[in-house]
């Protein structure tokens, strides 16, 4: 037995009004903040998915993206470290196709079925770039999804699947390409997307002896909203009733993460017994037949898609978007962006940097950060337990806003925060609006990119105003 036992998602807080791209365009798309990339979004989705789960019981992490910050260096390990997973686990990156997310899902299901792992976390994240003025720019969005695959407490059974491998040059990005390239869209969308997905669905229906009408929801993740009607017609389904909302108006196509994000959105509304059809396309197609179990009600307290989409800030200024995307780059910054590149310091300090571990003194019980050999309170030496602070909420003790830092960020808000349960930390704040910041404001932590130098990316935790407040059961005071 193998199935989905938990889900999570992440959509950046910021949405670019499409009207800012071109007057009259409708809706908005989710865009990463300047300090986010596919890796940081993946961490956020993974943590959403791990809510209430025993992190020490996870045996593997499979990560899918086409926008990895590295060509050589695994990202799954970064996500696993930030998620505070064990080190004796299997990790792998899946890439080079928008189908990589479902490829990772299939690999995880196979691993659990084969017994080489009991639980594997599958994460998919993308922040692709369409060239200014293209459909890709208008329709693309940034986001991430995560599903946990396990052999017990299954919320979604994977009953059957089918895959097609298709060597076809419709969209691509080569070494050094910033933007998505594509062949003529009439070819790419019909012979490529429409026909391949239709063929895979048809094969699955034959295998299962079902008709499209037997599914409560069909998840299509098309490259643009226009092709939806065409594909629905070919499959003989009503796009308005049976097809899961593709969220183009509020989020956009999030690449590798898109099918899994739409799956999460579907599961948020699904009832026990619902039969679902998940489709995914990219140099071929993956289709899965899923059934929802009554376990689904036990994993509802996620931010998921709904919680993430609810809280948003609109960017109506195209220049800001270009700056965050590093398409509009300023000259050298007046002050260093914070942090230095040092592989050895990163290694030495890994427990404070990735899972944000502070120390709790065994003698006086006080918590401190960053870890010290000698307790700052009672001065006992080397008598500590590590405690994870990344999932603790906190409150602002004092703050300042630095106007002389990089123009991309100015003003940079530095906040001293006190964690629930003890411990204080000096943080940079993210996803914040300056006028709303005050002493005592509740905050939570978010894994972000600090600085990139010579192709080396430094990540660390920042604090941000509570985003989870609206969907955490019981709420926060």
């Amino acid at each position: 037995m193998a199935g989905i036992t938990s889900y999570g998602a992440y959509v950046p807080l910021w949405r670019l009004s499409r009207d800012a791209i071109m007057k009259g365009l409708r809706g908005e798309k989710a865009i990463r903040y300047f300090d986010e990339d596919s890796t940081t979004m993946a961490v956020a989705a993974a943590l959403d998915c791990l809510k209430g789960q025993d992190r020490d019981a996870i045996d593997g992490l499979f990560y899918a993206t086409t926008t990895a910050p590295y060509k050589e260096k695994q990202i799954a390990t970064t996500i696993a470290a930030a998620a505070d997973l064990r080190q004796d686990i299997i990790t792998a990156d899946f890439s080079n196709s928008l189908r990589a997310g479902t490829a990772a899902l299939r690999a995880a299901l196979d691993a659990v079925k084969a017994g080489s792992a009991k639980q594997v976390l599958v994460v998919a994240s993308d922040c692709r770039m369409g060239a200014p003025g293209t459909d890709f720019e208008q329709n693309g969005g940034d986001g991430a999804a995560a599903v946990l695959v396990g052999d017990s407490a299954i919320a979604v059974n994977v009953e059957e699947s089918h895959a097609i491998s298709r060597e076809l040059h419709d969209i691509w990005r080569s070494e050094g390409d910033t933007y998505i390239r594509a062949w003529e869209d009439r070819f790419a969308y019909t012979t490529g997307y429409r026909d391949t997905v239709a063929e895979a669905v048809t094969s699955l229906l034959q295998k299962t002896n079902l008709t499209p009408g037997d599914f409560a929801k069909i998840i299509l993740a098309p490259p643009n909203p226009k092709i939806m009607g065409d594909l629905s017609k070919k499959l003989g389904i009503d796009p308005k009733i049976q097809v899961q909302d593709t969220l183009f108006d509020v989020m956009g196509n999030t690449g590798t993460a898109f099918p899994l994000m739409l799956l999460v959105a579907t599961l948020e509304e699904a009832k026990a017994g619902d039969r679902l059809l998940l489709t995914s396309y990219g140099n071929g197609a993956d289709v899965f037949m899923l059934t929802v179990t009554d376990q689904i009600d036990k994993i509802r307290d996620r931010a998921g898609i709904k919680g993430n989409l609810e809280k948003k800030r609109i960017v109506d200024d195209y220049r800001t978007y270009l700056q965050w995307r590093e398409l509009l780059v300023f000259e050298a910054q007046p002050t260093p962006p914070g942090g230095h590149i040092s592989a050895t310091a990163l290694w030495r300090d890994r427990s404070q940097i990735f899972p944000l571990h502070g120390l709790k003194c065994k003698s006086c019980n006080s918590v401190h950060f960053p870890p010290q050999r000698v307790c700052p309170k009672c001065r006992s030496k080397d008598q500590f337990d590590e405690v994870r602070l990344s999932d603790k909420k906190g409150k602002i003790f004092t703050f300042t806003a630095d106007y002389i830092c990089s123009r991309k960020e100015a003003p940079r808000v530095t906040a001293v925060i006190d964690f629930e349960g003890g411990g204080r930390m000096v943080t940079i704040m993210t996803d914040r609006v300056l006028d709303e910041i005050a002493v005592e404001m509740p905050v939570e932590m978010s894994f972000r990119k600090l600085v990139t130098q010579d192709g080396f990316h430094n990540y660390f935790w920042k604090s941000m105003p509570l985003r989870s407040q609206s969907y955490t059961k019981g709420g926060d005071k």
């Binding site: 942090g339 040092s342 300042t400 806003a401 940079i428 600090l450």
Partner: protein, 397 residues
């Protein structure tokens, strides 16, 4: 422990004009301040038996040779010291203790800094390990470090941002007034409360006029024993106390019981020095205090930490004029870091230079009436984990 009280004297001092001295190197500035000090003492460079050079700079790997090469000393011992922004007092301290220990008769302490060769408006990143945290994540820049204290001070004492900023603006106005009376100061222009309050923001709530000058400059002192001083000149001054405290961070950003509105190492260095000098009521006994006003809020914290005003009462006192020239304790009579400027290694000795002038009646338009005790308080680093240096000097008996 006999302590340092009355055991060493200062017989000569020099101080360059501070500012953006584009046409001068740090060694040019060392030559100026040291030769002024030698001329003031009326002695020859050959009589200097050892020297201490305080310089911080962006340049680590610097040594005493920098001063030796500038002055062309004759292969005497020269020690280079660095202790954050309290480097100037540290250089003075080294020389004073060597004389008190009886190792040398006459020594030189020089502080110098050339900050304006980097192309940066503020300070650039210093070399070496970060003061706090890991290399990998951001250390907090200087204005932000102290701005965190300002936000908290306003919160704790119930000041609206407007009231808080007005209190800080009064400090900038006072120090600019004092600087306008000082031809060696970097900034010599008076400003208004409104100018200070409406200035461009640097690190909320600190605006441009809440931040000290980033300057080039040098200051120097010639230190000897009182019995030798008497032979050199009549109006020498004596050292009453020296104190330095290195913050361990146990009351700083790591400690969740730290209040952010006092700085422990400043309190400790103050206690150390007051005890040595025999001062029990600083507000009454200290006539002039040059304190480390790197930011206006720092002057507030230091004034409370050193007992010039009770906790939370700085606002009342600045409004009452307590810290003006002619007030109960003249604080930063020479313009302070705010207006005299802050060439890091030189600042501690620049502070002593004002007491040296004031105690000898040579401070011109800033001259106080018959001052007897002067304090120089020099600070650097991250509050709670920084260095505070104190020197107390007095007129000769």
């Amino acid at each position: 422990m006999p302590g340092i009280k009355d055991r060493v004297a200062v017989v000569g001092m020099g101080c360059t004009k501070f500012g953006e001295l584009w046409d001068k190197s740090d060694q040019d500035l060392m030559v100026e301040s040291c030769h002024e000090a030698l001329a003031d003492a009326g002695i020859d460079l050959k009589e200097i038996q050892a020297a201490w050079l305080g310089i911080q700079g962006a340049e680590t790997g610097c040594s005493g040779c920098r001063l030796a090469r500038a002055l062309k000393t004759d292969y005497i011992p020269i020690t280079r010291v660095e202790n954050y922004c309290a480097t100037g007092i540290e250089a003075f301290r080294g020389g004073a203790y060597a004389v008190a220990a009886g190792i040398y008769d006459i020594v030189l302490a020089c502080g110098a800094e050339k900050l304006k060769d980097t192309g940066a408006t503020g300070l650039t990143q210093m070399g070496g390990e970060p003061q706090f945290g890991s290399w990998v994540w951001a250390p907090v820049v200087a204005p932000a470090r102290f701005a965190l204290a300002a936000t908290r001070y306003f919160h704790v004492y119930g000041l609206t941002p407007e009231e808080g900023k007005r209190m800080l603006a009064m400090i900038a106005v006072k120090n600019h007034h004092n600087g306008s009376l000082n031809p060696r100061a970097h900034f010599q222009r008076e400003i208004t409360i409104e100018q200070a309050m409406n200035a461009p923001m640097i690190a909320w709530p600190l605006g441009l006029y809440d931040c000290c000058g980033v300057s080039d400059g040098s200051a120097a002192a010639i230190i000897t024993r009182p019995d030798i001083a008497r032979r050199i000149k009549d109006d020498y001054i004596v050292v009453k106390a020296l104190g330095i405290s290195a913050g361990a961070g146990t009351q700083g950003v790591m400690a969740d019981d730290y209040d952010f509105i006092h700085i422990d190492e400043i309190v400790k260095s103050g206690r150390m020095a007051y005890e040595e000098a025999g001062i029990t009521d600083p507000r009454k006994e200290v006539d002039i205090a040059e304190v480390h006003d790197c930011f206006t809020i720092t002057e507030v914290l230091i004034s409370e930490d050193l007992g010039f005003t009770p906790r939370g009462k700085y606002k009342e006192d600045i409004e009452a004029g307590t810290f003006n020239l002619g007030g109960e304790v003249a604080i930063n009579a020479d313009g302070g870091l705010k207006c005299f400027g802050h060439p890091i290694g030189a600042s501690g000795l620049r502070m002593l230079f004002e007491s040296y002038l004031q105690l000898r009646g040579q401070a011109g338009p800033r001259q106080l009436k018959n001052p007897r005790i002067g304090v120089a308080q020099n600070y650097g680093g991250q509050p709670g984990g920084g260095i505070s240096g104190m020197a107390i000097v007095g007129a000769r008996d």
